[in-house]
Amino acid sequence: MAVKTLTINGEQYSAQEGESILSVARQHNIPIPTLCHLEGLSTVGACRLCVVQIEGIPRLLPACTTKVEEGMVIQTANERLNKYRRMIVALLASEGNHVCAVCVANNHCELQDLAYSVGLVRVRYPYLFPNKQLDATHKDYVMDHNRCVLCTRCVRVCDEVEGAHVWDVAGRGINSEIITGLDYSWGNSQTCTECGKCVMVCPTGALFEKGVTVSEMEKKKGFLKYIITARQKKEWVSIGNE
């Protein structure tokens, strides 16, 4: 495969043809914030948090879906990028009901961490306070749509790793919502294997285990690396407490 050379934040790097900018950045510990992206799942470029600035291209492009090209000159962090990233987190905060103080995922939440990393001091947009529902019909898990950021990690992990495809997205735009089956309640799903992968990859407190209370829901994502390495390389790696 051909090797491409490119510049990221003034430094020269080489990458394989077909690799994404995000992949190259991650290999060299260049921080780019992400939300919908999760190593081991397919890439959808939905959240736009990983946008980067590429010389000669007026619009910002997501690092997760943009492939490297010879001679690309990329900036991964500057005031313009941070402004847009802060806007994205503020919009996510304003269009759901994210109440950290009473959330099961408080202090273990990727949305919360993003708010800190982009310096979201306050949200200027009006909060929408949508009237979203909560599905507690499953015997082990709960889906609280108030805290869902529509990253679709649950949809992808269920389809691509578990192979059950219980979850999908219904509706359009602001009315989009994650559904179970053909919009049945989760407890009545005949396809759910009760594996809990969706719960573990969910970045917020939208999916959680029954019985946990404020700040108690810690997500462990190590299983993804374990399963994917096993499938691809027939190697069963140690994931420790990840």
Partner: protein, 183 residues
Amino acid sequence: MKDKIQKPKVATVWLGGCSGCHMSFLDLDERLIELADKIDLVYSPLADVKTFPNNVDITLVEGAVTNDENEEMAHTVRKHSRYVLSFGDCATTGNVTAMRNRFGNAELIDRAYRELADISNSVPNDHTLIAQLREQAIPLHHLIRVDAFLHGCPPTPDEIWFAINELLQGRIPVFNTQFLRYG
């Protein structure tokens, strides 16, 4: 003689919140004694003062704007304060106070005063005595201009101490990484 030295006037205000932020303020513990030498506390739920005074230097506002009385108070605070700070998550995001917003007021009041009532299940409606709920509880900065934001539910005593001391030295506190924390 000491009394003649003009100390910065500080006020704290309690809007739609649980008073946890004020409890955290009291958790400054022995630092309160040091603070008492540096400032004049001119208005606060912790001090028995009936009206919000003029020419206040720093006002900390706890709670979301949830009723007409809060709204009037917020405007008074802005008019008479040099610096206004959102004091904690309810003032900054609406937080728990704003969780009622997804229900209508009628549904909410019915639930609180009729369904869950043990003794007299009637709705208080004398709004000369009891403030009228706004349709939605909102963060303070969605109503008035706010100069800085203290985060957390509640903000830690260290954060409160940092904010007040920065302001006393004439700087708007910047909480970018050290204290930025929701929940």
